[in-house]
Amino acid sequence: MNTTILLFLLQDGITNGAIYALLGLALVLVFAVTRVILIPQGEFITYGALSYATLATGQVPGTARLAVAMGLVALGFDLFAARKSWRPGPLARALAVDIVLPVTVLALTAGLAGRINNVPVNIALSLLVVALIGLFLYRIAYQPIAHTSVLVLLIASVGCHLAMQGFGLVFFGAEGLRGPAVSDVAMSLGPLQVTGQSLVVYGITAALIVALWLFFEFTKYGKALRATAVNRLGARLVGIRTTLSGQIAFLLASVIGAISGILIVPITTLYYDTGFIVGLKGFVAAIVGGLVSYPLTAVAAIGVGLVEAFSSFYASNYKEVIVFTLIIPVLVLRSLAAPDVDEEKD
């Protein structure tokens, strides 16, 4: 191997790793706050990426309509939950979040699609749509069973993943899509071609990690989320609304997923079902980070990206085998190092 290939593989690995890092962070966030292992994270990726790519062709993505439909169902859930005590405040909030918001976004999307077709607008619209879907997903699928075991939540995740993947096929078709690059800059650094896109990937990953850190360290909501993560019941007793924490976690996770998708889609063609496997690699990173540590997850994600890049060069057939098997020794080490607690499931 010569230096050029080495550098190329390094760059490739780091770019992918940065995206896995984002996904890993989102998974850790959601798991810590809600105990949900977020398999539909893959769909947030594809929805974000393909909505962005669809907008770039001047069409209205079906996800905007899905958000309105999910909003209606979420309103149904909110009304059902509030059937015992009708108070105007929460009712108005439910109407605003569940109906007004998605309808406004759909109207914006329909109004702007094809007329103002520039990258920032399309990104903003895609993020809005996916954020709403994430929020409603928690309200509809998880909030009613938030108290159940990790296993039940996990199976619910599988159900969400299947349904959303099916919707993905309906909205985007079986053909893959590619989106326009966020930045067209390209420069040479020695033997390396550095594209603006990969720089954007690094920049956004770093910025998001810092933003998350600031959020959790210095804001009231961030602290509420951390409190929920440590002890659900305790958090409720001191007045933190754990459902709100869950909604915020899903909102953040869906936005992060969508950003990752938008960052990948100019680099590689995405299909309606690609998200699952990309999400799983973020998962590997999250597991290495023990589903609790953000910095460790980020480092592990870069590691996953590098392993993937190098194994696709040396043993491309066994790339996936290597990536997914590598975490077993890590798991064993983590498990041995973890304090021996007598956990009571159920």
Partner: protein, 589 residues
């Protein structure tokens, strides 16, 4: 025989279905698929629902079963029947290898670990030249008896459903046995099970292998039903589907696996054939409806459909009463009466900078009741955990019957005749009082998993259950024998724990706050019981906050404060000890 009646009726009905004239062959195909899924789901019920180990890699074990027979029958011309044991063996060995690594994983690492190797194996299946890469292996010979070749779905149907019903019977037998109780105890954490001598790591590996062998059997049948094997049905999506078959049916119930398989397979079929008619042929509508149905089902019946269904049947479950005439099982180890029975010599436990137990020494003689008292946080329960080896002491020496137990496992301590109860009750709420108590007699039985599956353990089992029933009577809960432990009030649950501890036939009984939550009369009865035990030669070490109870009962009292022993002696002397009064009241009263 009446207990077996529903099973016999079910078997007869299943046997009759293909014989009904005019049954569409397609129904038989569906039933074949249900049977195959039910086998895997049954393994998952044992592994996940009962044992608490979630596996996302079960389809990979089907792959081992299917590919073993595919390679051996096509490339080496072996008879399919000959490959059956080999398929099961390969799946089992794969489970041993993966299980040794995976079942050590704690908490959420376990399902994630299985997901990881499940995916890894799937990609391995699809890349190996030997297994035909993505195309897989085709032209696998059908099963045959003599010249009768099972080519159509109606003929292999019988093989599949005999396998399903046999597996269900064997699995039900396994759960209703000494080994089964150990498996059922796993889900509630390992401390209680280990305190009664259950080798939890071995029990986990056992269910892991058992589930894998069932999946391997399903894979073997699949290969001969399809007469082809390719990687797709052995991937992550298939594993996930099996898991939710188990959850839909009822993850804690063997027959829930069969029910879940039927519901999921039929639902999928209906959705696949009718949805396109309703909505036009666009996209994979069935997976949308399927996913939504799954989430809805979990919200409506999180325990699955089997308990929901059986709860609506008018028949009440009858529990058989144990035969009290069975001879008591032998003690695990013949006790060697040695004075002192328990000797704690300079025991110390540090958690970081906190010294929870600070060089504490005391002893318990045979036939003596010793009470360990002290204000909250004095280190009483930690001392208990050091004696039972739940915690490893930082320094000091603890001997039981003259045997040094530093470095021993909790199971070894139990084997020496030390039984305990827990401050926070650790019963298995969905097992009956009888079954919970019988777990205490674990070390006094000897039947293993295979004997239990084949019902060769009945004599042994009858002795254990009789012993359990006797101990329940002894503590005065005879009326509650067949109640679910979770339905009893907390005070009675503590008493059930005492009965469970007595089932070891202990030389030393450790009781952690046994009187908490008991009413006055119940406390009197407990005190009488403990005196009776002492007079029978048993020693009791108890932690208790009820001073009246302790002062009346104990022969000797050891007082701890902030991890340090501040007094020891007969109740009257301790009561007057100025250090003790200061520790409890803060000043010399």
């Amino acid at each position: 025989m009446t207990r077996r009646l529903p099973l016999v009726l079910f078997a007869l009905a299943m046997a009759a279905i293909p014989l009904i004239p005019g049954v569409p062959p397609f129904w038989l195909v569906l039933l074949d698929n249900i049977g195959l899924a039910a086998l895997v789901a049954m393994g998952l019920v044992l592994l996940t629902g009962v044992g608490g180990l979630t596996s996302f890699g079960q389809a990979a074990f089907c792959g081992f079963g299917a590919y073993t027979t595919a390679v051996l029958t096509t490339a080496y011309g072996l008879s399919p029947w000959l490959t059956l044991p080999l398929s099961l063996l390969v799946s089992g060995l794969a489970a041993v290898a993966l299980g040794l690594v995976t079942v050590r994983l704690s908490g959420h690492y376990l399902p994630l670990g299985t997901l990881a190797w499940g995916l890894g194996l799937y990609y391995l299946f699809s890349k190996l030249e030997l297994l035909g890469r993505n195309d897989g292996i085709s032209a696998i010979p059908p099963l045959a008896i003599g010249t009768f070749r099972m080519l159509d779905p109606g003929s292999i149907y019988y093989v599949i459903w005999i396998a399903v019903i046999l597996s269900a019977v064997l699995t039900t037998n396994l759960l209703d046995s000494r080994t089964g109780r150990a498996i059922r105890a796993l889900r509630r954490g390992h401390i209680a099970a280990e305190a009664f001598g259950v080798q939890t790591a071995r029990a986990k590996l056992l269910v892991f292998i058992y589930a894998a062998v069932l999946a391997g059997l399903s894979g073997w049948l699949y290969a001969h039903l399809q007469r082809a094997a390719n990687p797709t049905p052995f991937g992550a999506h298939a594993s996930i589907e099996y898991l939710f078959i188990a959850v839909v049916g009822g993850a804690g119930y063997v027959w829930g696996g069969v029910l879940g398989a039927a519901v999921v397979v039929i639902l999928k079929e209906i959705l696949q054939s009718y949805l396109p008619l309703v909505f036009g042929g666009q996209g994979q509508l069935e997976i949308i409806v399927f996913g939504i149905a799954l989430v809805a089902l979990l919200q409506l019946a999180p325990d699955g459909m089997w308990p929901w269904l059986t709860g609506r049947l008018p028949v009440k479950r009858t529990t058989k009463q144990p035969d009290l005439s069975a001879t008591p099982p032998p003690r695990a180890t013949a006790a060697t009466p040695a004075a002192p029975l328990l000797k704690v010599d300079g025991a110390r436990k540090q958690f970081g900078g906190v010294v929870a137990v600070n060089d504490v020494s005391f002893g318990v003689n045979p036939g003596e009741i010793v009470a360990l008292i002290g204000p909250n946080g004095a280190g009483k329960s930690t001392t208990f955990n050091l004696i039972t080896r739940v915690l490893v002491s930082s320094a000091g020496r603890i001997t039981v019957c003259g045997t040094n137990i530093d470095g021993a496992t909790p199971q070894r301590v139990a084997r020496l005749g030390v039984a305990r109860t827990f401050q926070h009750v650790k019963l298995i709420p969905d097992m009956t009082v009888l079954e919970n108590v019988a777990l205490g007699a674990h070390l006094r039985g000897h039947s293993g998993a295979i004997a239990s599956m084949l019902r060769l353990d009945r004599a042994d089992e009858a002795r254990l259950l009789a012993e359990a029933a006797r101990q329940i009577d002894r503590v005065g809960l005879g009326e509650q024998t067949s109640e679910l432990a979770g339905n009893l009030p907390l005070g009675q649950q503590r008493v059930v724990e005492i009965a469970r501890a007595l089932c070891i036939d202990p030389a030393l009984l450790l009781l952690d706050e046994p009187a908490a939550g008991l009413r006055y009369m119940e406390k009197q009865r407990l005190a009488d019981l403990l005196r009776g035990l002492r007079d029978g030669g048993m020693s009791v070490l108890l932690v208790e906050h009820d001073m009246g109870f302790v002062m009346d009962l104990a022969d000797r009292i050891v007082v701890l404060d902030f991890g340090t022993k501040i007094a020891e002696g007969v109740p009257d002397a301790v009561r007057r000890d100025p250090d003790v009064i200061r520790a409890y009241l803060g000043a010399t009263a």
